[in-house]
Amino acid sequence: MKVLNDYGIAFALLGAVLAALVPGIASAKGVSMGGIAGAGVITEDPAQFGKVLILQLLPGTQGIYGLLIGFITLSQIGVLGGSSNISFVKGLLYFAACLPMIIVGYASAIKQAKAAVASINVVAKRPDQFGKAMIFPAMVETYAILALLISILAVNGVSGLNI
């Protein structure tokens, strides 16, 4: 167990970096999907740039949430200064706490991008319906937010545990 305890920090760090990495990849993919669809709209009607840009950016938030979880975890486990004395169990717990954001962040960003692309098509045909079109991708984001919430609470909770 004592030997294992040296590896606690490794698992905690793994969780933190994956939280920034995996949703980041998905957001990059999502934003690029939106960008490709948006560029097509702009060639026809440059006036829609503002609206299309908003829709394109919607799947980008998962990457930011991931960064947030990554950062909170890094500061809790002491990688950004301070002591990094994390037991094996605690390291695993941090890793588990990051999982909702890692997995849901990845899936929701890509699914949201698909909804965003569909909404961009709505804006192309009926720019006046932007308000409604914006809501569809925002609905998908709810689940990323819920995952973020649980990850935040879990990371904070784990830091308070005495194991």
Partner: protein, 668 residues
Amino acid sequence: MALQKMQRIYIYALKKDKDRILELLQRRGVIEVRSMLKEDKIFHREDIGHVKENSEKNVAAVSQALEILNSYVKENKSLLSSLKGKKEIPEEVYASFGEKHESVVEIAKRIITLSKKIAEEKAELIRLQNQIEILKPWVNLDIPLNFKGTKHTAGFIGTLPREWTLDEIYEKLAAYMPLDVEIISATKEQTCIFVLCTNAFKDNVFETLRAMDFTLPSISFEKAPAEQLKDFEKQAEEIKGRINTYMEEMKSYDKSREDMYFLLDYETIRIEKYDVIGNLLQSKNVFIITGFIPEKDAKHIEEELTSKFDLAVEVTEPKKKDQVPVLYKNNGFCEPLEGIVNSFSPPGKGEIDPTMVMSLFYYMLFGLMLSDAGYGFLMAVGCAFALYKFRNTMERPMKNTLKMYLYCGISTIFWGIMFGSYFGDIFDVVGTTFFGVEKVPVIPPLWFFPVEKPMLMLTFCMAVGIFHLLIGLAMKGYQAIKHKDYKSLVYDAVFWITLLISCVLLLLSMKMIKDILGINVTLPNAVVRIAEILAIISAVGIVLTNGRESKNPFKRFLKGLYALYGISGYLSDVLSYSRLLALGLATGVIGSVINKMAAMAAGGVFGPIIFTVIVIVGHAINIGINVLGAYVHTNRLQYVEFFGKFYEGGGTLFKPFGMHTKYYKIKD
């Protein structure tokens, strides 16, 4: 929280006054013309499609011309020009534009022709340049390329692939002497040659040359290449000259740009008028205008019309089946949010205007999501500055947008101070990095740090959510009262509100919930008892009544049960407000990350400069992303959670017959 009351208006007038009456109405812009009467033997609608078509053609031509002009001469437009609003034009200019009209259309047509000519000349120039390229290797030949020989000799002009020397060629043709070979030019790719032989060997020489892959030149002219080349170059110069003159002429039309913009507005006004004329019922001498008018304007316009013309005006209440257009009546505080309501849908038939109630929550939720005093300050100051600078000329929609962000900014400042966030934790970072301050936070939050007490923040967000939802239900009740539908008031609003409140009380009395939320409230036993009873009564009430549109009692009961199941929807609605926490934390934490990164680079002589650059760029990005997030998710909470409780929309906005110009405003 209200809509303007609309009335039906009928104007019966003489045809001789038609143009003047229409002009007056268009200037006032208070009537939405709708056809309300049917055609009969005497009254007909006039088909004015052809007149309108002419105007539409002009609009198309001028728009195209402007686009072309913009591609040749860049328009001088500043970034802030969209804030400035439309330029004002005195009425005389509009009235006298009729004379100028034709000449402006001519200019537009000329611009289109010019652009075509420029394109043609450019194509011609390319063709010439190609020929020049082909001719260049032949420039040393002093006879024309189509030279075939004299009476006794045969000449061959053409190219051989790769580089040949004179000796090599003579070697190949040695059998057919006498002959003369000249190499005009030679490169690695090809050798241009001229061969002159006697007529006797004409065919043999040609055969041999063919065997060497000899090809005739692809062009042929009467003149010698050098001379021809000179001709071509002269022609090219001429074309370039012509293109330049065209370009000059094109540039000279830059000063007509304003006129063309004005023409677009002028034609828009005319088209709007034609649309109305096409809708009028006309007999030989009389015409009738029908439509909707806001009650507040009805009297005024009636007086003005009857004092100026011989006509009859009739104003009546709208009929039951009328789709009355929507015109808002809001104060300056909630007016900016009409646009948000419109992007969902304007209030439908019989619905109340939700703008006022929504505005309170909108500003608050936006502030909670952004929740950084620094960002709020930038937003508020930026909007206030723009509003002040262009206060006289700014268009209403732009003004409303800026006002909305101004109020959102103020709310953001408030919540930022409550939660102690100023550009993340800039004061702490600057203090500890540069001034050796040890006591952090420099400015403690007025309430608490959400990062330190996320559960408290979550509880607060859900409380806000429950309150928001209850107000939504109360709005449903209010709407029911307005319609005197007291059944719906009790069944759909009162029961649900009671159920929700009592459920919240019951949850708060549970130890588990208290532990999760980390709050410490003890409710008196009596309150818990009453809440239990109320919850049961309202739940039973909902089961019994919420399926009331079905006649079949069994079906009715099942529908009621299903409606009660809707309570799970409230659970997810309330949880949805946790985005307030998530987005609020995201702003603050990313801000802190930026500050931390900047602080890491702050050592050394250039440290402070690098620090400043990172902070400015980082926070600029953060503010952009988070304002977008706050805007989208505030809208979502309003549209889905709040509107879902009482508001459907489906109305159409009031579109009065007026002057909906794009570039100029015509002063009275």
